[in-house]
């Protein structure tokens, strides 16, 4: 197929794959460069121990993130978002807000472009802020790192999900009851699961979908 004949969606997948795998290789070049430039090779036992400690969990969460977030972000948003990262705490809520704002639905052609624009703008702004922050790291450190502000930054996720929760629950009150109740009960009863909470996103999604399906069949959701 020639580039010119490609539809927008075909093009997004074509360029998305090139960018994504290309960037994957570029990212691997960073630790490779450390090895070559400093002639510093990783310690085999430390490397294996470290990787074993995090990889199973991170790869499981990564897989779940792909399955859950790709339909929300759309193709373009995903190819970009899974490179620029910070999905849960930034890109996904940002995209949801943008879609809500203009009344676009994920999965529609409009939702696809709005999702891509939201993720792209958010990525550019984040990279820029962190870049400026790194330039000013000496004067900024005592302010951002002060013990007085620590309680505020410790609570960033509750502060984010509280407001976002209200915005989303308001639109889907009936759909939200079953998953919220079951997740609150789960984490109150088994607190040891909370640190790996992201694993439970698909569980909650299945509960939400099952409850929604039941209510839809009964005609409770118009």
């Amino acid at each position: 197929m020639k580039f010119r004949d490609m539809s927008y969606d075909d093009g997004t997948h074509f360029w998305g794959r090139i960018w994504m795998w290309g960037m994957g290789i570029v990212l691997l070049m960073f630790p490779t460069a450390i090895c070559l430039y400093f002639n510093a090779w990783p310690e085999a036992s430390g490397f294996l121990k470290g990787l074993l400690a995090i990889a199973p969990m991170f790869w499981a969460v990564g897989t779940i993130e792909v399955l859950t977030y790709v339909p929300m972000l759309g193709a373009g948003g995903s190819y970009l978002g899974f490179i620029t990262g910070n999905l849960t705490n930034l890109k996904v809520p940002c995209t949801i807000t943008a879609l809500n704002k203009v009344g676009a639905k994920p999965g529609t052609p409009e939702g696809e472009v709005v999702g891509t624009i939201a993720v792209a703008v958010s990525s550019i702004v984040t990279t820029t802020i962190i870049f400026i922050g790194v330039l000013l790291i000496v004067p900024l450190t005592p302010i951002l790192d002060s013990p007085a502000l620590k309680p505020a930054f410790d609570q960033i996720l509750p502060a984010l999900f509280g407001g976002l929760g209200v915005a989303l629950i308001g639109q889907n009150l009936k759909v939200s009851i079953a998953p919220i109740l079951s997740m609150v009960i789960l984490f109150v009863c088994v607190p040891s699961l909370a640190p790996s909470g992201a694993i439970f996103v698909p569980v909650a999604a299945v509960i939400a979908i099952a409850a929604a399906r039941l209510m839809y069949k009964k005609g409770w959701l118009k």
């Binding site: 360029w15 998305g16 960018w19 994504m20 994957g24 630790p31 400093f38 510093a40 990783p42 310690e43 121990k49 470290g50 400690a53 995090i54 991170f58 990564g62 792909v66 859950t68 970009l80 899974f82 490179i83 990262g85 910070n86 999905l87 849960t88 705490n89 930034l90 940002c94 807000t97 943008a98 704002k101 999965g107 891509t116 624009i117 939201a118 792209a120 703008v121 962190i130 790291i137 951002l144 960033i156 996720l157 509750p158 502060a159 999900f161 509280g162 407001g163 639109q171 889907n172 759909v175 919220i180 079951s182 997740m183 984490f187 607190p191 996103v201 999604a205 939400a208 409850a211 929604a212």
Partner: protein
């Protein structure tokens, strides 16, 4: 090559800078394509600008929290590695855990800022952090097309159910994270701090919603979520202090 190692070596800054420049190029590439396509679809430019504005405003507070993550890790790992890891793919929660696990595996810890990392320890940590978060990079190109066309087929078969399904997916994500906030309530009053903060954020959001709907103050829309977030984070300081005082 065998250059003198430092966690803040100019070489590392340059390497991280080049990769981040590529990330910006990628973002601009996708932004321009989507923008052109939006015009083809006949979406109003004003609507697109409001997407840009709300996304930019929304991003500011979380971006600062990421910057704090960079500062926290930089004490042990230097600036370039956390800067790169938290700007690309990384997320605050993962990178901190990955760095801690990797540091532990080479016999040190992120908190131990008194001893300097050797080049080999640093190289090990960089490899573990990089490989640990590669799942999304490998999987997204492999399965996103099939996943999206599956969702698409479903939505075409029954449009209303397709919409409900997407809402249910959003609610599933939100529920898991809202549930996690309650994960420490068994530890006593301190465990309730995140819950109090979450409710503060909800109340501020509801006030914004009332202002938007009842009083028709439209411009608040863009700021409702950042305001609830900053407001609740600001309230987290007196809440934490009050809880600590109550416990004594």
């Amino acid at each position: 090559m065998n250059h003198e190692f430092s966690v803040n070596s100019p070489f590392l800054f340059a390497a991280a800078g080049v990769i981040l420049a590529l990330v910006i190029v990628q973002s601009v590439f996708f932004l321009v394509r989507a923008w052109r396509q939006a015009k083809k679809l006949g979406i109003d430019a004003a609507k697109l600008k409001s997407v840009v504005k709300s996304s930019a405003i929304f991003t500011i507070v979380p971006a600062f929290s990421i910057l704090i993550g960079v500062i926290a890790l930089s004490k042990k790992l230097g600036v370039p590695l956390p800067w790169l890891r938290l700007s690309v793919i990384g997320a605050l929660t993962y990178e901190t855990a990955a760095a801690e696990a990797a540091a532990g595996a080479v016999g040190t810890s992120i908190g131990d800022t008194a001893t300097l990392l050797t080049a080999s320890q640093f190289s090990t940590i960089a490899w573990v952090m990089t490989l640990g978060i590669m799942a999304g990079v490998i999987l997204t190109p492999l399965i996103s097309r099939r996943l999206l066309s599956g969702v698409d087929k479903l939505e075409k078969r029954d449009t209303r159910w397709g919409e409900i399904l997407m809402s249910a997916l959003f609610m599933g994500m939100i529920s898991a994270f809202l549930g996690m906030i309650f994960g420490k309530v068994g530890e006593g009053l301190t465990g309730w701090i995140p819950v109090f903060v979450m409710f503060s954020s909800m109340v501020i959001m509801l006030i914004c919603a009332v202002l938007i709907k009842k009083f028709k103050i439209k411009w608040i829309e863009d700021y409702a979520l950042p305001v609830s977030m900053i407001g609740a984070m600001a309230l987290a300081i007196p809440i934490t202090n009050a809880v600590n005082a109550a416990i004594g």
